[in-house]
């Protein structure tokens, strides 16, 4: 005997919610889409304006200054290799997407992290949402991105921001919460307002942890912009995606290695910035 249990229309409900959002916030999403695609386009144009060797030297100098000569040398060799195998343009596209996605993730994540650190209620609301965001398979974010922003790099950035933001929020909140209680007490004892306490004591002491959050956000953004090639993000992910479709393992790995090189450079540099913050000066 069959017992028919009525099916809970979860998928339909979500569809209807998304439909509602797409149709009622179209003006907003269009605006965002325009601004972002202009931004992406301009940044790639600027990066491609210079001959690659100039940028390689600039990046290497920056890496040297921030993270020491080893990272500087690695930057020169790595980027020269990418130029040589004709991946310079997709690399600059990916760098642009990662930079913009990270900037947006920090812009949203930092205030939310501060809120979660200072208000217990906000903390209880935000943390489960972050758990949800992080355990949801990353591909799923690609689907609603399309109706919102259409195929292309803007959708990729939308999905990437959602995927990469949680560590920025978490680590900002953690950094502020782990400021030693006696320093908070000292700040209070001298009559600091909440804002003074935040700006003069809590945030400066949270910088190393916040920078660890930036580092993780960049790494997640990098992995997501590659996945986002499926919805039309160009760049190194696009090359991987092409290689999958044409069954060209060599080209696939070549683009993959390019992602690794970019990741290592960005990782070493942001890690070092974080550590510099922790020594005080």
């Amino acid at each position: 005997m069959d017992i028919t249990v009525p099916k809970f229309p979860l998928a339909e409900l979500i569809n209807r919610l998304l439909d509602f959002l797409t149709s009622h916030f179209a003006l907003f999403t269009k605006a965002v889409s325009n601004v972002l695609s202009t931004g992406i386009h301009d940044m790639v144009a600027v990066l491609m304006y210079f001959p690659p060797w100039v940028l390689i030297l600039v990046f290497a100098a920056l890496a040297w200054k921030v993270a020491g000569w080893r990272v500087g040398v690695f930057t020169v060799l790595g980027l020269a290799l990418l130029w040589n195998v004709q991946l310079w343009y997709p690399t600059m596209q990916t760098l642009t997407l990662v930079t913009i996605a990270t900037a947006i993730a920090m812009l949203i994540g930092l205030p939310l992290g501060i809120l979660a650190a200072l208000s217990q209620t906000a903390y209880r609301i935000i943390m489960p949402i972050l758990d949800f965001m992080q355990t949801m398979p990353a591909f799923v974010y690609l689907i609603p991105a399309i109706p919102f922003f259409g195929l292309g790099p803007v959708s990729a950035i939308f999905a990437t921001v959602i995927f990469a933001m949680p560590p920025a929020i978490r680590l900002t909140a953690l950094g502020i919460r782990q400021v030693p209680a006696d320093l908070i007490e000292a700040s209070d004892a001298f009559g600091s307002t909440k804002t003074q306490k935040l700006v003069k004591v809590q945030l400066p002491l949270a910088v190393p942890t916040i920078m660890a959050g930036v580092n993780q956000t960049i790494m997640l953004a990098l992995s997501m912009v590659v996945i986002a090639a499926m919805i039309g993000a160009e760049g190194l992910g696009g090359k991987v995606w092409e290689a999958i479709q044409r069954l060209e393992p060599g080209k696939g790995f070549q683009a993959g290695i390019a992602v690794v090189i970019l990741a290592m450079i960005l990782d070493r540099m942001t890690q070092r910035i974080g550590r510099r913050g922790s020594t005080g000066q």
């Binding site: 006696d182 320093l183 007490e185 000292a186 004892a189 001298f190 009559g191 400066p204 005080g280 000066q281």
Partner: protein
């Protein structure tokens, strides 16, 4: 007038203070209250006053409530019941920004583990309080520089706290508190984290600094030696309640309970006890017009080997010894006036025991204790000093 007045201050940690309060009123102790109601009693019915310019030491072991107490005075912790008055103002009724204003104007606080801001250098740590008050950069730098000078740290302005030793860090902490020129200094175990030699230096310095700055100081410590050394008065806390309030000497010589006594046992009494605490009343004295035989008789009665000679108003004239008196008697002198030794050592009631011991080692008779008018207040004998050192105190 009193600078700080604390009345029936009670702090109960937990969501149901009223349950704990009922038991407290019945005289239950904090362990029983915790096991019966789950409420932790931080302070129970604490009342005291601090006069302007006084150093009041709150002394107790960990868990006695002393840290809670000092934080109730500037409302870093809100009292559950009772009231705290600063300059006649009930601070529990203050609104948030009035409270901030009060903290800025009246208080400087020094912490056990220094609580210096590790991302700011020495001078900007010291400036913190002024910066929060919105003081212009130039004048706050100047004031901070003066405060650093006061604690002997000129030249260290741009060092980071992490580069300094513990003692120096706490000087910065002290300078930070002094920079805002507060009426009241709250010092929470300020010297407890320092090693003993540095701690002694800092105690000395605090006392001499206090001579110059004349703040009202509430000082928390678990170290009785420290309390005795710097306190004008001491409050002893145990299990959230006040066990005794008094001057260092009162605490030492008449401990209010077995608990206080046990504390006092370990103290190096030579440094804190004074002649006033160990002297005996001079019950028997000679007068200048007494005959030598009368003097001999008085000595004989008390089996003394000497007597102090005083005028009728007890102004000390000197001392007669038994040998001189018997010679004078056999010579047939009419009074003892001719045999008074006038060149004898005297001490005042606040002469410390260490000095007394030094004098007594070279003096063969009792030692007179006199006031400024040179009137005889009492005598110190070796036996009395020994007895005080042995722990009795009441000689």
């Amino acid at each position: 007038m009193e600078k700080i007045k604390v009345e029936h201050l009670t702090k109960i940690f937990g969501p149901h203070p009223e349950r704990a309060r009922r038991l407290l009123d019945d005289g239950a102790d904090k362990d029983r209250i915790f096991s019966e109601t789950g409420q932790a009693v931080g302070l129970a019915d604490v009342s005291f006053e601090v006069q302007a310019g006084e150093i009041l030491v709150v002394m107790g072991l960990s868990g006695s409530g002393k840290s809670t107490l000092i934080r109730c005075v500037n409302r870093l912790i809100d009292p559950t019941y009772g009231s705290v008055w600063i300059d006649g103002q009930d601070i529990c009724s203050l609104k948030r920004n009035e409270l901030l204003q009060l903290r800025r104007e009246k208080f400087g606080m020094v912490f056990q583990h220094f609580a210096l801001f590790p991302h700011r250098n020495v001078i900007s740590n010291v400036e913190y309080g002024l910066e929060v008050q919105g003081e212009p950069a130039a004048s706050r730098r100047e004031k901070a520089g003066e405060a650093l000078k006061l604690v002997g740290l000129e030249g260290w302005e741009s060092a980071m706290p992490g580069q300094l030793s513990g003692g120096m860090q706490q000087r910065v902490g002290l300078a930070r508190a002094l920079a805002v020129d507060p009426d009241i200094l709250l010092m929470d175990e300020a010297f407890s984290a320092l090693d003993p030699l540095i701690r002694r230096d800092m105690q000395h310095e605090l006392v001499s600094l206090q001579e110059r700055v004349k703040k009202t100081i509430l000082f928390i410590t678990h170290d009785l030696d420290e309390a005795l050394k710097i306190g004008d008065r001491i409050i002893l806390l145990k299990d959230a309640r006040v066990v005794q309030v008094g001057t260092p000497e009162e605490i030492l010589t008449s401990p209010a309970s077995r608990y206080v006594e046990r504390f006092v046992e370990d103290v190096d009494k030579t440094r804190v006890l004074t002649a006033g605490a160990v002297m005996a009343r001079a019950r028997v004295v000679a007068y200048p017009n007494d005959g030598p035989r009368t003097a001999l008789h008085k000595m004989d009665d008390e089996s003394f080997s000497s007597l102090f000679v005083v005028k009728r108003d007890y102004t000390l004239l000197g001392l007669v010894r038994v040998e001189a008196a018997s010679e004078a008697a056999s010579r047939g002198d009419r009074t003892v006036e001719g045999i008074i030794e006038q060149d004898i050592p005297t001490v005042t009631p606040d002469t410390p025991l260490t000095t007394l011991i030094g004098i007594l080692a070279q003096w063969t008779a009792a030692l007179p204790v006199v006031d400024e008018q040179h009137k005889l207040l009492g005598v110190v004998v070796k036996a009395g000093v020994l007895e005080a050192l042995a722990g009795g105190g009441e000689s």
